[in-house]
């Protein structure tokens, strides 16, 4: 029987050394080939999503998945093909039993892979792999449809933009198609800037052709002859695969002068992002493609009417385009069968932070946060209590543990001050300080604010100054009211969505974690033990076993003590970084209120 060895070569697995693993496997196979009856092919695939446990190696069609593979395991794996699997490399489920298939792995078991269907299964650099899995069949079908019929199909699917705002995709296309002005453009937004999110990166790296297919279908329906993929500067691998995909599709006659011989043409090119968060905003992105500073403009006219170079333009997110081939192939009607009331289909989330199984997950819209964190993520690391889930990137909000039963879709969360956004989901435990988290996001936004409009530029700076004061023990009464007042100004008067949604992390923080803010301001105490100016650490001598873990982790040498005897922290040398608490396996290190100034 022919076997295929799939080696995950997404950015995450490469960081864990998967290229060396692939090489070692290749060598092991060529060395043992004379004895082996099996014909084995090595394939480098896109991201499997379970990056923390990389490099991931899968044997198909046996469907055996190995995790954390090292090059030295290569020979064992090759020898085991067709025989007993290498048990130590299998994933152990919650009961501690090793599992073979991804389908039995609790991380994958509860997922619903639609957009990610090909990722991890195909070689993203190989067009025939994509074709073999039914790729470009939707395009073929679309070529026999009228533009109006394509748009009707997308409209009936109820697909909403996956970039965060959730604008109905069909309506956007309909608007752009309705204008006569030529030329028209189609843009794919791959400037994924939200800290804590990597959905688009994985799709572009793992299945670039499905995105291209979506873009081509969009271009056909609105009559665009030129398209751009705006991809972040940091996503080197994604750009490489997209460029190759465009080149391959052009040589195969799928793209370019005559799309599949239909006589219709489309020219696609990749634009490198400049590393500015604001360029994820549609009008700023267009300014950036035009070769200007990426500042947004007021949207008196939507970009579907006046977008790139003032021409009708459709701009959609990577994930949105990846959904299009599915809709055309299976009809919009079928697409609506999955998902929530006003949010159809599935959504990819980046489940990260202090969660046991972190990675990329795809679930139908409308599942609860609790399900995502507990069933797929396996709960919080080390069984610590869950405090909040930050969702929606810097413009999203923190949802407290008590509200985790909320469904995740476009509309439910907005009522509670958060939003689904592009799908970043950061799990926080009791050692995350909500004031500090808010400060982090405001700092991020203040840096990334383009500075064009005053409320955003000045308001964020003031909010940052106040939050920094609170974190460093200079908070005073009235700060919270002032923060709320500035927030209202930002929401009402900012030019673009960056400023309008910027207060979300602060507003939800004050709303759900007011106690924590009050503790910082009034008692000068950080309950989570994060804000260094307010925190000191001490070792409980009755619990400490003297394992020296904390002593070795301490960056300033403040921890003293001998092996097997209780350790002590020299407060004068301590910088309250908390490294000792992180490494202590016995819970002997405690955060307490700092009594005197640093």
């Amino acid at each position: 029987m022919n076997r295929t060895v799939l080696v995950c070569c997404g950015t995450g697995c490469i960081a864990n050394g998967s290229l060396e693993v692939a090489e070692a496997l290749r060598r092991a196979i060529s060395e043992t080939k004379t004895h082996a009856i099996v014909e084995t092919v090595i394939k480098q695939t896109g991201c499997n999503g379970f990056c923390e446990n990389g490099p991931i190696v899968r044997i198909m069609p046996d469907d055996i998945s190995y995790y954390k593979v090292k090059p030295k395991n290569a020979r064992d794996i090759v020898n085991s093909i067709g025989e007993k699997p290498v048990e130590q490399l299998l994933y152990k489920n919650d009961e501690g039993t090793p599992v073979l298939s991804q389908m039995e792995n609790p991380f994958y078991m509860s997922q619903h892979k639609t957009v990610l269907r090909n990722i991890g299964e195909i070689d993203p650099g190989n067009l025939s792999d994509y074709l073999a899995r039914g790729g470009y069949s939707a395009l073929k079908k679309a070529l026999f449809m009228t533009p109006d019929a394509i748009i009707r199909e997308v409209e009936s699917s109820g697909l909403r933009g996956r970039g965060g705002a959730g604008f109905p995709t069909g309506r956007k296309w309909r608007t752009a198609a309705g204008f006569e002005a030529l030329p028209k453009y189609v843009i794919c937004n791959g400037d994924e800037g939200d800290p804590g999110a990597f959905m688009d990166r994985s799709i572009l790296e793992g299945d670039p052709h499905s995105v291209l297919e979506g873009i081509i279908i969009c271009a056909l329906s609105i009559g665009a002859l030129e398209g751009f993929l705006y991809i972040r500067d940091e996503y080197v691998l994604a750009r490489k695969y997209v460029q190759k995909a465009i080149h391959d599709a052009e040589s195969a006659g799928i793209l370019g002068g005559s799309i599949m011989g239909s006589g219709k043409r489309l020219n696609l090119s990749v634009v490198r992002g400049g590393g500015a968060f604001i360029c994820g905003e549609s009008t700023a992105l267009m300014a950036s493609i035009e070769g200007r500073v990426g500042e947004p403009r007021a949207k008196y006219a939507r970009s579907a009417q006046r977008g790139l170079w003032n021409q009708p333009t459709v701009l959609n997110n990577v994930e949105t385009f990846a959904n299009i081939p599915i809709i055309i192939n299976n009809s919009g009607e079928n697409f609506t069968k999955i998902g929530a009331e006003n949010s159809k289909g599935t959504k990819v989330f980046a489940l990260v932070g202090k969660v046991r199984r972190s990675g990329l997950v795809e679930v139908p819209m409308g599942v609860s946060l609790r399900y995502l964190v507990n069933n797929i993520g396996g709960g919080v690391i080390d069984g610590r209590p869950l405090k909040a889930v930050q969702i929606g990137g810097p413009s999203g909000g923190c949802i407290p543990e008590a509200m985790l039963d909320l469904p995740v879709d476009f509309d439910s969360l907005t009522n509670y001050g958060a939003m689904m956004g592009s799908g970043g989901m950061i799990v926080m435990d009791d050692r995350s300080c909500m004031v500090e988290v808010a400060r982090y996001y405001v700092n991020f936004l203040a840096e990334e604010s383009c500075g064009k409009c005053t409320p955003c530029r000045e308001g964020l700076r003031q909010m940052l100054a106040i939050l920094t004061d609170i974190c460093e023990g200079r908070g005073k009464e009235g700060d919270l009211e002032l923060l709320e007042e500035i927030s209202r100004a930002l929401i009402g008067a900012s030019l673009c969505a960056l400023g309008k949604s910027a207060p979300n992390p602060v507003m939800t923080g004050i709303r759900y974690f007011r106690d924590e803010y009050i503790a910082h301001i009034m008692e000068k105490h950080c309950p989570a033990g994060v804000c260094a100016a307010l925190t000191a650490f001490e070792i409980d001598a009755s619990v400490c076993v003297g394992c020296t873990n904390c002593k070795r982790a301490c960056p300033t040498g403040a921890v003293t003590g001998e092996v097997k005897s209780a350790h002590n922290i020299n407060q004068a040398a301590c910088v309250a970084c908390g490294a000792c608490r992180e490494v202590c396996r016995f819970g002997a290190v405690r955060a307490i209120k700092r009594r005197f100034a640093v």
């Binding site: 950015t11 864990n16 990056c51 923390e52 070769g291 990426g294 972190s358 960056p555 490294a579």
Partner: protein, 188 residues
């Protein structure tokens, strides 16, 4: 090429001092050798259109580790746009820098996932090793540290890259070993 006066020397007095010292150090190794004709191959890879300005500057950044003043002038002439416009882009986009960077560029991810898993401690660790804060370069011009927003490898948090190579789940204790290996590699 016609020398044009423009506000390069007016970023801020502090910046200026840093730039001056970097210039002295980098002289001979990086700055001196750049001749205007060197840019022509970079420029001519793209059509004469404003929309390629960002791409050209990114190529310059990659080649020289910064966007040289002469490069901006050459580009301005090539696409017939004012230098001021390119200057505004060079200061706006984070992937561009007007100051020379070190030989090895350390990027510490401070995305949300890395932040709550201790990215700030990594920055502190690097600071103790090299004595540089984010945005600074060591005196010998070997290492630059940058604090960047999310590199999209959140499942491996905290993440750091050195010259584009990813290091996931970095611990403070392992930092010195990583850099020691790099220093040895760099020596002939």
């Amino acid at each position: 090429m016609r020398p044009t006066p423009y506000p390069f020397s007016r970023w801020s007095p502090a910046d200026n001092n840093k730039f001056a010292s970097a210039e002295i150090y980098f002289e001979g190794r990086m700055l001196m050798e750049i001749m205007p004709q060197e840019f022509s191959s970079l420029l001519e890879a793209y059509p004469k259109d404003r929309r390629y300005a960002l791409a050209v500057m990114q190529d310059m950044q990659r080649q020289y580790n910064y966007v040289p003043r002469e490069g901006l002038e050459a580009l301005a002439e090539y696409i017939s746009r004012p230098v001021a416009e390119l200057f505004s882009m060079a200061t706006f986009y984070k992937s561009l820098s007007l100051k020379p960077k070190g030989v090895h560029i350390i990027k510490v991810c401070n995305g949300a996932a890395c932040h709550i898993r201790g990215a700030v401690n990594l920055v502190g660790g690097i600071k103790r090793i090299f004595g540089i804060a984010p945005g600074e370069t060591t005196e010998d011009g070997m290492f630059s540290m940058e604090l960047v927003n999310c590199m999209g490898s959140c499942a491996l948090a905290p993440v750091m890259t050195v010259d584009g190579k990813y290091y996931g789940q970095v611990k403070i204790e392992s930092l010195s070993a990583i850099f020691e290996a790099l220093r040895n590699e760099a020596k002939p």
